[in-house]
């Protein structure tokens, strides 16, 4: 095998993998189209004042949520990157946790802090101030910032970590004041990560459903995703549902393309956390400001978790932990999460290696670049395909050939796997790309192919990020309440589904306990996997 064949195999495998993932999503839509025999009338939809108003609201809330998350993440990332204190790594790990939290649990936890009867309101009332009223756009924004600002902060810290060590040394050596450091080093680094982070968060917010309804204060706050759900589940109008979904996908694709044009770093990247050494001149006021920012940011992210902890501890945890249904659900969740994470990792790696393989080759540069952007966009857009459509499509398709309930676990695993892809691509991509930049030419010239290339070039570079990616996708599907809400049954109960069931039958204490168990297992999983996978850790800087 020569390097050209190897490259072809890699590109072929990657494109196949991406097509499989897309096929899984589009397959659902296609089946729905066939079943309904009704072409979506997008023009009519766009003329519908109801659709127009929710379209406007969807974009407004997603845009504002993205802006706030990103703008607030900048000072936090800067302070986190600058500050050196014990517990920085746990904080950065904690920052991935909101994404892994079932949205319903997260939304209620946010309300425990920011609601009318929440901790902040109680504090305000105690000093004679009026209670907060966050229901409406402000509540949606708070919840979205809680879920996404930590994500942006991590992306930004990773970007700062990629700044060459010499730059930090020079800053220290030349005694550059904070503002100059920001202008010359920090901002250029952040600017590179900004489009990728914004695009990711925008996609996550565009499809928001539960948060928008619970905290939106009324139907004035309605997203396209709600309308899709309404069209499909309540009116069974697949044509309308698909039409709305297509509008959503196209709009998001436009935003994605815009960010691709804006930034050189479309995928962004997470990095594995705080390794840079900095030599900024120490100043008491600046240290204090940094500590304050880190404290506020961490408190903001941590407080809903504290709420989950407190209400969870009030539950009868011993009974819950020994309950057969809980153990069974936890086991099911673990299996689903492990299967989904492994599948997602496999597919994402194939896609990533194809993206890297496309950097070299005989085809014209524009063709290869186009293919790369295509693959990157495809792995991102999966975030905005409505799970309810995919679920309904596959439900209808599968019932032609098999028992839907028996197939349910596979559909849930596949959905979770696809939904984790954008994150995995962002975690592993930058490292792989860097490794290829450093050793790719060497590998080409030595004619390294196949397994040898994987072992010597790809694996060492991806090992650490892969651990994080695996841990993160485990956590994502462990806490998923999207696909399972459609496909769960008495024979197929995951921990979040059980939580939903308990909540749905008044067992709020049980639900709180389960939320705590879910959170704890997630933290333990992420810690264990990250440690076990990446082997010996380098000492922190």
């Amino acid at each position: 095998m020569n390097t050209r064949t190897d490259r072809r195999i890699r590109i072929g495998a990657g494109i196949t993998a991406a097509l499989l993932a897309l096929g899984f999503l589009l397959g659902g839509i296609l089946v729905l189209l066939v079943v309904s025999r009704q072409a979506p009338d997008i023009v009519a939809l766009l003329g519908d004042p109801y659709v127009r108003s929710i379209l406007g609201f969807t974009l407004t809330q997603a845009g504002l949520s993205t802006l706030l998350s990103v703008v607030l993440a900048v000072p936090l990332a800067l302070a986190l990157h600058r500050a050196r204190f014990f517990g920085k790594r746990p904080i950065l790990r904690l920052f991935l946790l909101p994404q892994a939290l079932p949205v319903l649990v997260g939304a209620l936890a946010v309300i425990t802090i920011w609601g009318r009867n929440g901790v902040v309101s109680d504090g305000l009332a105690a000093i004679g101030l009026p209670r907060l009223d966050v229901y409406g756009l402000s509540g949606i924004l708070i919840a979205h910032v809680f879920f996404n600002m930590p994500l942006a902060a991590r992306l930004f810290v990773a970007a700062l970590d990629r700044v060459p060590a010499e730059s930090w040394k020079l800053c220290g050596q030349l005694a550059l004041p904070p503002l100059t450091v920001f202008r010359t080093v920090e901002w250029p680094a952040l600017r590179g990560a900004l489009p990728g982070a914004s695009a990711l968060i925008f996609m996550l917010c565009v499809t928001s459903f539960t948060i928008v309804l619970v905290l939106g204060g009324g139907p004035a706050a309605t997203t396209l995703e709600v309308a899709v759900y309404q069209a499909l589940r309540y009116d069974f109008d697949p044509g309308r549902a698909i039409g709305l979904s297509i509008i959503q996908i196209v709009l998001t694709a436009l935003v994605l393309v815009a960010t691709l044009l804006l930034g050189r770093d479309p995928a962004g990247g997470f990095g594995t956390g705080g390794r840079a050494r900095r030599f900024d001149a120490r100043s008491r006021s600046r240290d204090a400001a940094d500590s304050l920012v880190v404290l506020c940011g961490t408190l903001f992210v941590l407080s809903p978790f504290a709420a989950i902890l407190v209400s969870g501890l009030a539950a009868d945890l011993t009974r819950l932990a020994t309950e057969a249904a809980v153990q069974q659900a936890a086991l099911t969740s673990l299996l689903v999460a492990a299967a989904a994470a492994s599948l997602s990792l496999l597919v994402s790696m194939l896609v990533l290696m194809a993206i890297e393989a496309l950097r070299f080759g005989a085809k014209p540069d524009t063709v290869r670049r186009g293919a790369r952007i295509g693959l990157e966009t495809a792995t991102s857009l999966v975030l905005v395909v409505s799970p309810v459509i995919v679920g309904a499509g596959w439900f209808l398709a599968l019932r032609q050939v098999t028992d839907v309930l028996a197939a349910a676990p596979y559909v849930v695993v596949a959905t979770n796997a696809v939904m984790a892809m954008p994150f995995i691509v962002r975690i592993v991509g930058p490292a792989l790309s860097q490794a290829n930049a450093e050793t790719g030419k060497l590998a080409e010239s030595l004619g390294l192919t196949g397994a040898a290339r994987f072992v010597f070039v790809d694996w060492p570079a991806m090992r650490g990020p892969l651990a994080l990616a695996f841990a993160f996708s485990l956590a994502l599907s462990f806490g998923d309440l999207g696909a399972i809400a459609l496909f769960g049954s008495s024979d197929f109960v995951t921990l979040p589904y059980l939580l939903l069931q308990r909540m749905g039958s008044y067992r709020t204490a049980d639900a709180a306990g389960l939320a705590l168990i879910l959170g704890l297992v997630t933290v333990i999983l992420m810690g264990l996997v990250e440690r076990g996978f990446s082997g010996r850790r380098e000492a922190d800087g």
């Binding site: 060459p164 060590a165 010499e166 730059s167 040394k169 020079l170 220290g172 050596q173 030349l174 005694a175 550059l176 004041p177 503002l179 100059t180 202008r183 010359t184 080093v185 250029p188 050494r277 030599f279 001149a281 120490r282």
Partner: protein
């Protein structure tokens, strides 16, 4: 507490030494480092030795980028062990990334004397002069990406000398340049370090090209396994007569089978 401040006049010329590392100890990645070194005011010292011997570590310890477990560092008679890099009277150049990619040559140089990038008229003249001193007249507006490797290092040199610090640490800044260009840069360095009415700036230079050291360095130190294994006048060191290990490193003598 010991109050052993370096005695002025203990070394040549009556000036205190530019750099004094007193029994500095440091550990990293399983290697123990131990350095004891005096660089006189105005002296040019070259550091040679195999990779991993501790050459860059020594510079990082001197510059304050690494903190010793024990021992002290003194510069011009002052104890700098606890000082931040910015507070130490030195300039440093690295092998790469000496410039900030977002700033043009003028601003990259300006950072040496105007960290806030607010430049007075007088400073503007100084910066332009520094650029033309390194042969880059008219390069003010160029960004690092628009310059060759050699030009970028010249900009970095211009900045370092604009700072007029008594000690310059060079971590192989010319290693990536061709032989002729490297010689030009060294000649430039020798010219630039001269200071009116003062001894020239002391230089500590890490190099993988010992022949570079020959025309300029006053002394050469050979590092091995985290220690200065040998140090002496350049000619004697490079002849390999001073130390067996140096001779082997320089390839002047085969090790006995």
């Amino acid at each position: 507490m010991e109050t052993d401040i370096e005695q002025p006049g203990a070394s040549t010329g009556g000036a205190p030494s530019a750099l004094r590392l007193k029994d500095i100890r440091f550990a990293h990645g399983g290697t123990e480092f131990r350095f004891d070194l005096t660089v006189d005011s105005g002296e040019w010292l070259a550091l040679i030795g195999p990779s991993g011997a501790g050459k860059s570590t020594l510079l990082d310890l001197a510059a304050g980028f690494l903190h010793p477990v024990s021992g002290r560092a003194l510069m011009a008679g002052e104890d700098v062990t606890r000082l931040a890099p910015a507070e130490r009277p030195l300039s440093m150049l690295f092998q790469e990334n000496n410039l900030f990619a977002q700033l043009d040559a003028f601003r990259n140089v300006a950072l040496g004397i105007a960290p806030r990038l607010r430049v007075s008229k007088d400073q503007r003249r100084q910066i332009e002069a520094a650029l033309s001193a390194v042969g880059l007249e008219g390069y003010s507006k160029r960004r690092p990406a628009e310059m060759s490797g050699g030009e970028r290092q010249r900009v970095a040199l211009a900045r370092a000398f604009l700072q007029r610090r008594p000690l310059i640490l060079l971590d192989e800044p010319f290693a990536a340049l061709g032989p002729a260009l490297r010689r030009d840069m060294l000649a430039l360095l020798a010219e630039l370090r001269k200071r009116e009415g003062e001894p020239p700036a002391a230089i500590v230079m890490v190099t993988h090209h010992p022949e570079d050291a020959a025309p300029y360095a006053d002394r050469v130190a050979y590092l091995e396994a985290g220690e200065i294994a040998a140090i002496g006048p350049t000619a004697r060191m490079l002849s390999g007569k001073m130390d067996e290990r140096v001779a082997h490193y320089l390839g002047l003598r085969q090790r006995q089978a």
